[in-house]
């Protein structure tokens, strides 16, 4: 923020400054709200709305203060005069806004003209009076001294200083109800301290050194290859992105009609064309969609390799399941898929099988990772491409329809009733296909 404000005060390229007439006194180096907005618009090439917003934020933080109505920190984009706050009072100076200083400020106000203290200020004044009672004489003395010194200045300067102080205290002691711009998230203060502490320890650096050594050895891909990948990804998914290309029949949030969600429910008999297309983008997309996965299972069934997908699902269940279930699940998977003569034996290469069986002696949740990856790759490189070329998939693609766009309402102000949907918390938990018994899909019997 300071960067912006400093460049605004630049004599050549900054905001146009002139002397402003305020009632009878003349204040030098003042700017109008309108000029501030215009300068921001031009310098940063932004819209007027944004410039007004940015200007307002600068005023709220006390970097620019109004001369005429110093009670409220608002930027008026017209002839209202403003001035730049002196760096002494900048919020980033982290000058601790001490209670004593605030007391002196309020005392000054009170002495200068009785009755100028607003309600909340009166409350604070009384509270401080009780709190710093012992030093109250000092407070009053300071206040009177400052007022006396001020009287010796020109009226213009006096006004400016008064406005500066007022703004500073409005920012640091905002009236109740107004948000304080200085509020921070809790806990961040510990960052600096803990950081210093950590870097003093030797093992922090040892860790960094080890990481760097490992990192130097890794293979990297050329930027051009990686960046091209983004282009093709975004290009492929663009038409599927509701915020980029819209969605049919309509975006539920805009039209208040939840037809889009009904049509794209997780389990639906007739998936839309876009959805079926997505199954062809990557194997992961196919598996993540319950309808896609079900069709793929059917396809595998026809090829007598359905046990591969069931095995993969069982492994997922193990990996993300409860810790207490691990031994039971591992055993179930072994009995079902890996044991010699198992009902749904999966075909893994001998080396992986040996390693897996070895690891099964001390089962943990990642013990089936190697086998799972092997089967996953098998499906991805072999069954998946065949699925995409199959008649079954082509048929699904041809059958899938594109929903019609909902006609725009004739009377835009009549609201459609927004239907509520049952909370997932109400539905009975869907039964996961367990290792013990797979879904009733036709797959080969051993």
């Amino acid at each position: 923020m300071e960067r912006v404000v400093v460049s605004m005060q630049d004599p050549d390229q900054g905001v146009k400054m002139r002397s402003q007439r305020l009632l009878v006194t003349v204040i030098p180096h003042a700017v109008t709200g309108g000029d501030v907005v215009q300068w921001l618009t031009q310098k940063f090439c932004i819209s007027e709305e944004e410039a007004r917003h940015l200007g307002a934020v600068l005023v709220q933080h006390g970097y620019i203060y109004p001369l005429r109505d110093p009670r409220s920190l608002v930027l008026r984009p017209d002839e209202t005069p403003y001035r730049f706050q002196t760096p002494y009072f900048w919020t980033s100076t982290l000058w601790p806004a001490a209670e004593l200083d605030y007391a002196i400020y309020l005392a000054k106000k009170n002495i200068r003209k009785q009755g100028t203290l607003v309600d909340y200020e009166k409350e604070c004044y009384d509270r401080l009076h009780t709190k710093i009672n012992h030093a109250w004489d000092l407070v009053l003395m300071q206040a009177r001294e400052q007022l006396r010194a001020a009287k010796q200045r020109r009226k213009g300067d006096r006004l400016v200083i008064a406005c500066q102080e007022q703004t500073y205290w409005l920012v640091n002691r905002p009236p109740p109800g107004a948000p304080s711009v200085l509020e921070q998230s809790p806990g961040r203060g510990s960052c600096a301290a803990s950081r210093v502490h950590m870097t003093k320890r030797g093992d922090f650096y040892k860790q960094e050194i080890e990481y760097c050594r490992r990192a130097l050895g890794r293979t990297r891909v050329k930027s051009s290859v990686c960046l091209e990948a983004y282009l093709s990804f975004c290009g492929q998914r663009g038409p599927h992105d509701p915020l980029v290309s819209g969605c049919l029949p309509s975006n539920p949030w805009i039209s208040d009609d939840d037809a889009y969600w009904v049509m794209n429910a997780p389990t639906v008999v007739a998936p839309t064309k876009l959805r079926v297309e997505r199954w062809g983008f990557s194997f992961r997309e196919l598996l993540e969609d319950p309808v896609g996965r079900a069709h793929f299972m059917d396809f595998l069934g026809k090829e007598f390799s359905g046990e591969n997908l069931s095995f993969w699902e069982a492994c997922e269940e193990l990996r993300y399941g409860a810790q207490a279930q691990v031994p039971t699940l591992v055993d179930a998977v072994y009995q079902q898929f890996l044991a010699p003569g198992a009902a749904r034996w999966v075909n893994i290469d001998s080396r992986t099988m040996e390693r897996t069986l070895e690891g099964l002696r001390q089962p943990h949740r990642y013990v089936l990772d190697d086998a799972q990856l092997h089967i996953y790759m098998l499906m991805k490189k072999d069954s998946y491409p065949r699925f995409l070329k199959s008649d079954m998939y082509k048929g699904l693609l041809a059958e899938a329809g594109i929903p019609l766009e909902t006609k725009k309402r004739v009377f835009p102000f009549s609201r459609r009733p927004r239907h509520s949907s049952p909370s997932p918390a109400l539905l009975p938990t869907p039964v996961e296909p367990t290792a013990a018994g797979g879904p009733g899909g036709g797959d080969g019997v051993a």
Partner: protein, 379 residues
């Protein structure tokens, strides 16, 4: 004694210089394969048209700053958490680290967590938490539970129930225990595991049922502020960002840091993976958002503008990864074209800083939560 201390200091200094020189070499290696910039490659891409995004729903119900929110998989429900103000000045509460403004009187606040059906704007559940700032919350994949935590240093899981006779707080399960505040939490692929990030500089993976610590991740030099799970096929990594300006990618199984990126100039408030899983974006207090590619192992784009001088508090991608939405501390939301690096639009509406922002699971809208006590759904 004195000689021992001297020896210690020498080793420390030599370790530090060795680390610095290795880091320098690493940067050189990374630069060797950097043959083109993203915006150059993106020149052939069609520019996006004008975007008109408006607030479609405003959710009012929190009595104080909204700190965090998450979507349910059903694409319309959300859980949000806030710092709640219950009563007037009752007690004095002193900050542990005396900041310049800590002499102000605090009122004793409770945190509140609300579950909404944001389509109809109905509130479905509400829980009051006995801790002041609830900085993290997450919806379980099944939609049957929520997790939240904050200054209480814990992450608790609440099963959602519609039974009027049951008090939701009674069934709560305390899962994670850290030695400092909880800054972020997320369920993995199931309801039974939670990943947490904390102000004590570590991340941790927990088993919900037993509360057992499954894996911990050490390496950040300061508070960890955010995390995101990778959408990869093998589902094994996640990225975290912290006050040490570093974004680190971790292997969930071994607990080791796989990659680290240190180009931001201030705290990283938010990290989010690109939908393909090959990259991630980060938003920071240095007023920029950056894109890091995992295969090229470097930063590939910076999203910044001279007129944006406030920190970005949260970022998220649209479904195709073409748009990056970022919420800032100057109350605005900026929408960036990820490929071209330019700003597509700026959204006004919030009256205080935007603290959290997430795109809905099917990409039809995004929701932003702010310190002005409201949440807004935009489309």
């Amino acid at each position: 004694m004195a000689t021992e201390a001297l020896h210690e200091n020498e080793t420390l200094a030599s370790l530090k210089s060795e680390a610095e020189s290795l880091k320098g070499k690493l940067e050189e290696e990374r630069a060797k394969l950097h043959d083109v910039e993203l915006h150059q490659v993106a020149e052939r891409v069609e520019a996006l048209g004008q975007f008109v995004m408006k607030t479609r729903r405003t959710l009012k119900g929190h009595g104080n700053k909204v700190l965090c929110m998450d979507w349910c998989k059903d694409k319309r429900r959300i859980v949000s958490s806030s710092q709640e103000c219950k009563v007037e000045i009752l007690r004095l509460h002193w900050d542990i680290q005396p900041l310049p403004h800590s002499l102000r009187f605090f009122s004793w606040k409770d945190g509140k967590v609300i579950v909404w059906d944001s389509f109809t704007t109905n509130k479905e559940h509400a829980v009051t938490m006995p801790c002041t700032w609830v900085m993290a919350c997450a919806y379980a994949p099944s939609g049957c539970a929520i997790a939240c935590g904050g200054l209480d240093n814990k992450c608790s899981v609440y099963p959602l129930t519609f039974d009027k006779n049951e008090n939701m707080a009674a069934k709560k399960k305390s899962v994670a225990m850290h030695t400092n505040y909880l800054s972020a939490c997320s369920f993995t692929n199931s309801d039974m595991q939670i990943l947490t990030a904390s102000g004590d500089g570590t991340c941790a993976l927990w088993d919900v049922e037993s509360g057992q610590l499954l894996q911990s991740f050490h390496g950040h030099g300061a508070d960890v502020l955010c995390l995101d799970l990778a959408p990869s096929e093998t589902g094994n990594t996640f990225v975290s960002g912290g006050c040490d300006k570093k974004a680190m990618v971790w292997d969930m199984r071994s607990g080791q840091c796989v990659q680290a990126f240190e180009t931001h100039e201030s705290d990283i408030n938010s990290v989010r993976y690109y939908p393909s899983g090959d990259a991630f974006a980060s938003g920071s207090d240095d007023a920029t958002c950056r894109l890091y590619d995992l295969r090229a192992d470097r930063e590939v784009a910076i999203y910044s503008k001279e007129s944006i001088i406030f920190g970005a508090s949260s970022v998220d991608f649209s479904l195709s990864g073409r748009l990056l939405f970022a919420g800032y501390n100057d109350y605005t939301i900026n929408v960036w074209d990820v490929l071209k690096g330019s700003r597509v639009s700026i959204l006004f509406g919030h009256e205080n800083r935007v603290s959290t922002l997430r795109v809905s699971p099917d990409g039809t809208a995004f929701c932003s939560g702010s310190w002005d006590h409201t949440l807004r759904v935009w489309a």
